[in-house]
Assembly symmetry: C2
Homo-oligomer: 255 residues x 2
DNA sequence: AAGTGGTCTAGACCACTAT
DNA sequence: TAGTGGTCTAGACCACTTT
């Protein structure tokens, strides 16, 4: 099982020593040399075995711990973690693709109004009931086909006359792609399952009662104030969220 | 804006220097001292400014880069990244809760059969059409209420007579919680939106046509062979996937 | 007391980018 | 050429756990 070529660090390689050791240990775990619950060799032993300094071994252990492959316990040792499904990193690529380049996608503005906040809107945007918000309804196309229906309530701030820009396509793109001028800092996302209503089905060229995703979002500014609450509706047959859990042999560490 | 207490490293604190510096820089980015696209001070400058060694600064930068807050470019500098939605870490807590302790949840076995693989099953499990698989149908309760309907095709391996154990409740729990004896290494997940069929609605005490999640899974063993393909059906009003994107002030780095 | 992980230093050398 | 990030060393000291 132990292969010299796959079990030593090649100092002439372009691959850094720490990355090689990460790969070696991950492989040993993946192939069952170390099973979940097993204790890894101590850091001192790894130093000697692979001929690297303590700092390098520590870095390797930290990377493996960050990846959720092992867990280090002070004074006891480093142990292989079992597969857990507590969290999963989901890919939003297909969603992001819609906003990547203008040629692939188009945004059609359906409605823009200034409306007083209802109780629900006020709660989501942390404002008073009756305060002014900008309600926007958009339809996002991929090529010829409508993909997403977007409803959004944006904080109406008379001191910042950004209303015009906010309604533009570029605003939505900036939301998803980021940008140097973006004032958005972070956001909450939630995925619900729902079915299309009458008007949603008409706009999206689908059928009433068809399965759909509801992707709710709240975005916050640098002062932690919510600036935008809304949700996307997407027919279930046009979108899918995928994730990988556990240990894969792929993926590097520091992109 | 610059506050001495929040801008220096306290060597007497229990919080390690690197963690303090991560917090300081994140705060400066979050409050807009450094905006997306801005270049951070060079590592040498940070060393002098905060009185730490190069290795410590490098560690801090690596952590921020791993968190997606900055991106380091060799020879150019370290730059603040804009908010992106490329990936989002979704919480599967509520799903995992179902399998955490026996008192909260129960599993009722509805059906167990040995069936030859159809074309679709064969493709998913990387076997030949007609090979034997174990088809399992389960209903998972939270307290008194049915929460999930599970359909699963498990590889039938006559050399490993694990069939009995595979059907047990503990098998499902081991799947989600991991365990020292688990042979599972990793898995693919996918979330679809769907609507309940007739029998699904009956079993789940819901209504036909109600919105629902379909959580498909494939689990693999240490030899990268798929051992289980199946999916959970959950009414949309009983489950929700949430995530945070961008920079939050919370969360530590090395749990 | 011995062994473990956790943090940190004060440099070194290299590769890359800008000027 | 100067400045940047990227890697790595060979230790040090500390906190914690086990024996």
């Amino acid at each position: 099982m132990i292969d010299e070529a796959n079990d030593t660090i090649d100092r002439d390689s372009y691959e850094p020593a720490y990355a090689q050791l990460v790969r070696i240990l991950r492989r040993q775990i993946a192939t069952g040399v170390f099973r979940p619950g097993d204790r890894l060799p101590s850091e001192a032993q790894l130093c000697e075995r692979y001929g690297v300094s303590p700092m390098t071994v520590r870095r390797v252990i930290n990377i493996l711990a960050d990846q959720g492959v092992v867990v280090a316990e002070q004074g006891r040792g480093t142990f292989v973690k079992p597969l857990e499904l507590g969290t999963a990193i989901f890919d939003l690529d297909r969603l992001q693709q819609l906003f990547r380049d203008e040629s692939q996608s188009q945004v059609k503005l359906l409605e823009v109004r200034i409306v007083p906040a209802t109780e629900r809107t006020a709660r989501k945007l942390a404002i008073e009931v009756g305060e002014r918000t900008i309600f926007i309804r958009r339809l996002i196309f991929q090529g010829e086909n409508p993909m997403l229906l977007h409803r959004e309530y944006v904080l109406y701030d008379p001191t910042r006359p950004i209303i015009e820009a906010e309604m533009e396509v570029t605003s939505l793109r900036g939301l998803f792609m980021g940008g140097n001028e973006s004032a958005l800092k972070w956001g909450d996302l939630a995925i619900d399952a729902t079915v299309l209503t009458d008007d949603e089905a008409t706009l999206l060229h689908s059928e009433v009662g068809a399965a759909a995703f509801r992707l709710e979002h709240i975005f916050y500014d640098f002062d932690n104030r919510p600036v935008s609450w809304g949700w996307f509706i997407c027919p279930g047959d046009r979108l899918r969220f995928t994730a990988k859990v556990g240990i894969h042999d792929q993926e590097t560490n520091n992109p």
